[in-house]
């Protein structure tokens, strides 16, 4: 091959560089009966990485509920799918791009969006909505403004250009993310239910095609990088950054959908992390087949590339397609119309082996099963984290009005307008509830009257205090958000962001969070259809709060009935749900300068279920004109946000203590209604605690029993001003 490359035996340094332990490497040799070639070592390294093999998480993920009548495609494929009605499948998934975004915020976030979109259109679905969940360090951390601007610009840059609306998301700030930000991107698409495409390499002799951008040296070892914790040096190491090209992805999207409209493909998979290697191995594994790739045929961007690089490159905007024999010419014709590279790089074989050749010489010859089924699985040791300290009481604020304004100005609570106005959230003319307008976004299901509601949520502080309760509350909150707009929660995708699984405490958090999520999903009949795990989110031994992000999807029969969270004037405000607020993990606690402490808000899953059912029944009866769940900042903040959005005042009695006003609980919704009596009667019949809070009207928010009588304008100034101040100083 003309290029010098390392030969076996490989030294410890090389193996470490490939993320393989001595025991794992011994297993590779045992499976092969020989030492791996250099490209084979690369292939094992990525296929056995945490990112591809889920080696620390797999034993736990099994405990998540994944079935239900609504599920069309559960976990295991490129994305999950549920039945959207009227012959449609709704396809969605969420994925992390945390480490790349910390190194290069614009490109890291952009390629995160590109990757999750490919997961969705690989299934034959046209993407119609994007969400993003972001976690940054302290607002005053010197890196935060740069990271926020770069990530937001990158998400917008990609989604806007490809023409998929970014309709919602979530942003929180916490010191635990100072050295490890989280960038989780969610994409949702729709496909005819009977035309979903899977990543299978079936049919011996079928040609394998490479479609899309040329391969360069981008992000080589990205997948192993994503599985390693940061150390002091890694900012300097700076691996070649993957650059996103949304324009090419738009062409790829249209070309794929053109191809998928005809009977040409047997299977298809995007080249995501670990590129050509993982896409081909996973497709062969699912079909129980083998695959031969002629690497010298891969379209290359740079000169002098070698098999190792071609196999590991993470160049973006590429797809691998298995074509039905006889349809090759049509495939080439359809793709070429979009000006993209398309070429046959291999065939499906019956050998069960992954074989790569280079100028006729075999450079990789490995059983697919060794790469996929034999990948290590660890049930890593766990040890419970010590229980968090609890605050007995916090001082009452000297002025409730001032405390409320201060809370509204906390970047985690403040308006995210600065973010979502940089995202095109209206392209495709399907956005019924825009970001900032409701508790969940609503987009229409094309060609029907139906609507799809979406929300992403997770409070890492709650998860840090108790990962079981925190995980369950994330599911409950996302379900409540979806129910607030009037949609029935259907299913979730998750993105499980944790620190190093090699620390028993983290592993315990992970296992607990899974159990909490599973319990909530069961209680709410919302199974998990897809997801992603991101481990090793820690720097120099300091980990992030456990952050199992939940993306909930719900459905409305009639999208035009969706309601927002802006209070109309002259209505009653009614509180539904009796969850008991607490100071633990609350924004109020931290605002007092207190360290993170318990006790956590209540978790009562049957009560959450009853609340959701009540909300939907009341919505169906026309009793809900606007609804907003109380989350960060508590009840007073929830009422104030509805006032700001509706540009109307209110006079309410929320109680006069800091706990009643600012304590947090997940499981409380404020509803604006024209018929409070009827709503209260329904609540009583359903066994859901409810009470009248007051009325909307005028131009100030008055909290009975306190000094707070604040002009809505003042509330707005505090709430709208905080986020730009973080980023723009």
């Amino acid at each position: 091959m003309g290029q010098r490359q390392p030969q076996p035996p490989y030294d410890a340094e090389i193996l470490r560089g490939h993320g393989l332990t001595p025991a794992e490497y011994a297993r590779v040799e045992a499976l092969l009966g020989r030492a791996p070639t250099w490209p084979e070592l690369g292939v094992f390294s990525v296929m056995w990485s945490e990112h591809c093999a889920y080696k620390s998480s797999r034993v736990h993920l099994k405990r998540l509920p994944t079935t239900g009548p609504q599920v069309v495609q559960g976990p295991g494929e490129n994305a999950g799918a549920i039945d959207g009605g009227d012959g449609w499948a709704v396809v969605f998934k969420m994925e992390s791009h945390n480490h790349p975004s910390f190194i290069e915020p614009y490109q890291g976030a952009a390629t995160g969006v590109g990757g999750i979109l490919r997961d969705v259109f690989t299934m034959g679905a046209r993407p119609i909505a994007l969400l993003n969940a972001l976690r940054f360090g302290r607002p005053e951390h010197p890196k935060t403004p740069h990271l926020v601007s770069g990530v937001v610009a990158g998400i917008g840059g990609y989604g806007n250009c490809i023409g998929v609306p970014t309709v919602g998301g979530d942003v929180m700030f916490d010191a635990s993310y100072d050295g490890n930000i989280l960038v989780n991107a969610f994409a949702l698409g729709v496909a005819p239910k009977d035309r979903i495409f899977l990543g299978v390499a079936e049919g011996v002799g079928n040609p394998v095609f490479y479609v899309g951008s040329k391969t360069g040296r981008d992000g080589i070892h990205g997948a192993t990088m994503a599985s390693e914790e940061f150390s002091e040096g890694s900012e300097e190491k700076r691996p070649t950054v993957q650059v996103g090209d949304p324009f090419t992805e738009k062409l790829l999207l249209e070309a794929c959908l053109d191809v998928m409209a005809e009977d040409i493909l047997v299977g298809v998979q995007d080249m995501g992390a670990a590129g050509l290697t993982s896409s081909s191995c996973e497709m062969a594994s699912r079909a129980g087949s083998g695959l031969v790739l002629h690497l010298d045929r891969v379209p290359m961007r740079e000169q002098g590339m070698v098999p190792y690089e071609l196999l590991l490159s993470e160049s973006q905007e590429r797809m691998l397609m298995v074509c039905a024999r006889g349809k090759e010419a049509r495939l080439i014709e359809l793709v070429s119309r979009w000006g993209l590279d398309v070429c046959q790089v291999g065939e499906v074989t019956e050998t069960g082996r992954f074989v790569c050749t280079w100028d006729g010489e075999t450079v990789v010859d490995v059983p697919v099963a060794a790469l996929v089924d034999e990948a290590p699985v660890y049930d890593r040791p766990q040890s419970p984290a010590p229980p968090a300290a609890c605050v007995e009481a916090l001082p009452e604020p000297s002025s409730v009005g001032k405390a409320l304004l201060d809370l509204l100005g906390r970047p985690t609570i403040a308006s995210k307008r600065w973010v979502y106005e940089q995202y095109d959230h209206m392209v495709r003319t399907g956005t019924v509830v825009r970001p900032g307008a409701g508790d969940a976004a609503v987009v229409r299901l094309p060609q029907t009257r139906r609507g799809i509601a979406l929300s992403v949520d997770c409070n890492g502080r709650y998860c840090k205090l108790d990962p079981f309760v925190g995980g369950a509350l994330a599911v409950v909150e996302s379900a409540l958000n979806v129910a607030c707009v009037g949609a029935r929660p259907q299913a979730i995708t998750d993105c499980l962001n944790f620190a190093s699984p090699e620390r028993p405490e983290v592993m315990w958090q992970f296992a607990q969070a899974i159990d909490g999520i599973a319990a909530a999903c069961r209680a709410l009949d919302a199974p998990v259809v897809s997801g992603n795990v991101s481990l090793y989110n820690e720097t120099n031994g300091v980990g992030i709060h456990p952050t199992p992000m939940i993306g909930m999807v719900g459905l409305l029969e009639d999208a035009s009935t969706a309601v927002g969270s802006a209070w109309p004037a002259g209505r009653s405000l009614v509180l539904l749900g009796g969850a008991m607020p607490a100071f633990g993990g609350s924004e109020y606690l931290l605002m007092q300068g207190h360290a993170l402490a318990g006790p956590l808000p209540d978790l009562d899953l049957p009560a959450a279920r009853a609340l959701i059912d009540l909300l939907l029944a009341a919505h169906g009866a026309g009793l809900v004109e606007a609804a907003h769940d109380a989350s960060e900042g508590g009840l007073a903040v929830a009422v104030a946000e509805g006032c700001i959005q509706g540009d109307v005042g209110a006079r309410v009695d929320l109680g006069a203590t800091a706990l009643a006003l600012f304590g947090e609980a997940i499981g409380r919704v404020v509803v604006a209604t024209g018929d409070a009596e009827a709503l209260l009667a329904r609540a009583q019949a359903a066994g859901v605690p409810a009470r009248r809070l007051g009325f909307t009207g005028g131009d100030r928010l008055t909290l009975a029993g306190t000094d707070a009588a604040l002009p809505v304008q003042a509330l707005r100034a505090a709430w709208e001003g905080a986020f730009p101040a973080v980023v723009e100083g």
């Binding site: 190194i103 290069e104 490109q107 951008s213 360069g216 040296r217 981008d218 700076r238 070649t240 950054v241 650059v243 996103g244 090209d245 324009f247 090419t248 961007r301 740079e302 160049s315 000006g339």
Partner: protein, 81 residues
């Protein structure tokens, strides 16, 4: 004094814009055009009159703001005159 900072993408980094321009030039009938790479020039007016100090300032600006060290390289120069 007037200085100039030229910022270019590092060699291995995909130049998406350059690629699109290559395609457009070919379609417009320009033959024999190979790779196109796009960079930026920042022309900065400086109060500084000492050339060495001016160059040092430009380098600091490039490192601190104008270039992204993860993906880009830069070059500083002083304008004659």
């Amino acid at each position: 004094m007037k200085g100039k900072v030229t910022v270019r993408l590092k060699a291995g980094v995909l130049d998406v814009e350059g690629k699109a321009i290559e395609g457009a030039l070919a379609k417009l009938g320009f033959n024999g055009v190979g790779a196109v790479r796009v960079g930026k020039v920042f022309e900065v007016e400086l109060a500084e009159t000492d050339p060495a100090a001016a160059k040092a300032a430009l380098t600091a600006m490039a490192k601190g703001l104008l270039a992204n060290p993860v993906m880009e390289t830069f070059e500083v120069a002083l304008e004659p005159g």
